[in-house]
Amino acid sequence: MIERRPLGALLAHFILIVGIVIVAFPIYYTFVASTLTTQQIMAPPMPLVPGGHFIENYGGAFAGVATIGGVGVDRLLLNTLVVALAIACGKIVISILSAFAIVFFSFPGRMFFFWMIFITLMLPVEVRILPTYQVIVDLGLIDTYTGLTLPLMASATATFLFRQFFLTIPDELVEAARIDGAGPMRFFRDILLPLSYTNIAALFVILFIYGWTQYLWPLLITNDNNMNTIIIGLRKMISFVDADTQWNLIMAITILAMLPPIAVVVFMQRWFVKGLVETEK
């Protein structure tokens, strides 16, 4: 048993609480702002305890956006959900297959594919945004969920993570499967997938958040207000120039836009953490 140090535990609690105050403050601040009036928000220092306009602002958030572009917050949230889910699921499926091929097979061109996939690891859509936009136009994918999601699946982060995990699977397991006469797909289905279950859950969280928080790409390839995501809807309402911006409503919608990804992270944290633990074994 490791020695107990009450002072150490106290210090740990103290550091954690300070950490939480720093980390959670901007979100708390947003919540407070979402219960005030615009005048209160704009006159510094803004109060740091919630005000009495909660119902008014959140009710107004739904009514308010409905008048902008004729699209309701519910539709924007649905779009964002579809985009986030499609990116998460699509990327997981694509990545686990290619990581499986690269780790468990030896075939001509394997290293070529390996590098072809992994040099894209750190290059997000932003550095090639205009030519990628051209591709989307040529394929007629403007204003479609495919256009919103497919290009964002073209990166290797998930493949990288699966590969890292697959490398830790002991050779004996593969050997045993082969001795049992199991083919590669049966090995994949019966052994690898179950082992990867928590990894998939962890990746799902990461990719869901990634998809949910996109801005520049959806802005460029949606012309139809009905295809906007919540982040774009929100930015539509924000103006520092020549417009009286309804900050109270914006803060309320900001909270609404944060809730689904926060819910995913919080509710899936058990699997998330477990998935990451498994990776390290």
């Binding site: 704009m42 006159a43 902008i68 499926v93």
Partner: protein, 441 residues
């Protein structure tokens, strides 16, 4: 567990496949795409205008699409043009005017759009200062002035009283304005003056208003490679004063665009040159403010001349079917209607685009009820524009403004004096203009 994965995979592909089925609405009407950069309350105005126009007729449907900030919108338009799918109408900010003018065959001058669309269109119906800004060197009107503004001086009447100044007499000249700022600071208040948009107000409009050249070749109207002239003695004196006042906080820099407005709204700074379009926030904050003309230098010959507009105009892309342009022309006629223009002007603080809307607002007694709201119009049309005040054109004005802002920030931070800052700005801007012009040769 396998079933879970199968479901996961299936749902992913189902979601992607769904894209194919997102229905395109039935095309009974011709759709007119209007890309714009209006966020916040202005976004609602845009939506309402489209709705109103769509309700007046059934052949066309104007569809406004928000495309982000002004640079993002311009870029989305250019990317779409290069991909051969441009919108019909695009809102381009004042500094993008040079870019659009360089685009020649990509755009259709609104004079042509109106003629081909069978709509009567008379340039002289529109405010002269605005028309000249959005016209080619030969006088052809190229774009439709949608939201134009002019810089004015907002001041806080309560702060004036506290400093023993007459709240009904704003300063007329810059030396006066700086005196006022010092008095306000001396009376124990935190800051005498701030300013939004330093490049637009203190360089571009400064030159036009004081009838000084901003650049050679009629400020770039006649040439792709004008050379900037913003390092004259008066420019240097003006910025040196600002830099000295910044040191003790009499003047407080508040950012490149309109962030400084917050310093005025919270009564920290007593005076602020800012766009007339920014009035909505001041009204909404319920503060006791007055509006004065943009200050000038009495030693400048011919000052005050006229200001040049900020804001944005609507450009029409070329290459659409003739029938579409009919709809676009109808829409512009709708936007030019006196009651529409008068209403836009009165609710927003933007200038009316047409003379008739100005007259209408006078008749409504709008300016008697809202003193100060006529000032930006008078600034814009008080005098016939000179070579120095028709506008400022370089193909890369956004980049030039960036360079100027960088040098000004180094000046206000005490890293260089005004002469060095403006000399650097001229040198670097000229090099950047030459470089950018190469692409057009």
């Amino acid at each position: 567990m396998h079933r879970i994965h199968a479901t996961l995979a299936a749902s992913a592909f189902a979601l992607v496949a769904m894209a194919g089925t997102t229905a395109v609405p039935a095309q009974a009407q011709t759709e007119i795409q209007w890309w714009h950069a209006m966020a916040g309350a202005n976004n609602e105005t845009v939506e309402n205008l489209a709705k109103e126009f769509n309700a007046t007729q059934s052949d066309y449907k104007v569809v406004p699409v928000y495309k982000g900030t002004y640079p993002e919108t311009l870029n989305a338009g250019i990317a779409a043009f290069r991909a051969r799918q441009p919108p019909h109408i695009i809102q381009v900010f004042d500094v993008g005017t040079g870019v659009m003018m360089g685009a020649k065959s990509a755009i259709k001058p609104i004079a042509d759009v109106m003629k081909e669309g069978g709509q009567t269109f008379n340039k002289s119906d529109y405010l002269s200062g605005i028309v000249s800004y959005y016209s080619a060197a030969d006088g052809t009107m190229l774009s439709f002035p949608f939201n134009s503004s002019s810089p004015v001086l907002y001041y806080n009447k309560a702060s004036f009283r506290k400093a023993g100044l007459d709240p009904e007499t704003p300063p007329k000249t810059w030396p006066e304005a700086f005196e006022f700022a010092k008095k306000i600071k001396a009376s124990g208040q935190s800051c005498g003056m701030t300013s939004t948009w330093l490049t637009w107000i203190h360089l571009e409009n400064f030159s036009a208003w004081n009838n000084l050249p901003y650049a050679t070749d009629q400020n770039g109207l006649n040439s792709l490679t004008p050379e900037l002239k913003i390092n004259g003695p008066l420019n240097i004196r003006h910025f040196q004063t600002l830099a000295e006042l910044q040191k003790d906080g009499t003047f407080q820099y508040g950012g490149r665009t309109s962030e400084a407005k917050a310093k005025f709204l919270n009564s920290e700074c007593a005076m602020m040159p800012e766009s007339s379009g920014g009035i909505g926030d001041m009204v909404k904050a319920g503060m006791d403010f007055g509006i004065g003309s943009l200050p000038y230098y009495p030693e400048a010959a011919g000052a005050p001349q006229n200001t040049i507009p900020g804001g944005a105009s609507l450009w029409v892309f070329a290459g659409k079917p003739a029938a579409d342009y009919k709809g676009v022309a109808q829409f512009f006629t709708f936007l030019s209607k006196t009651d529409v223009q008068a209403r836009l002007h009165q609710v927003s603080g933007y200038l009316p685009a047409t003379m008739a809307a100005y007259e209408q607002s006078k008749k409504d007694g709008f300016y008697e009820k809202n003193p100060g709201r006529e000032i930006p119009i008078k600034q814009m049309m008080g005098k016939e524009p000179t070579e120095n005040s028709k506008g400022v054109r370089t193909v890369n004005l956004p980049q030039v403004r960036d360079i100027q802002n960088e040098e000004i920030e180094a000046l206000l931070n005490g890293k260089q004096d005004a002469k060095t800052a403006l000399d650097n700005a001229v040198r670097r801007s000229n090099a950047a203009i030459k470089e950018a012009a190469k692409a057009y040769q």
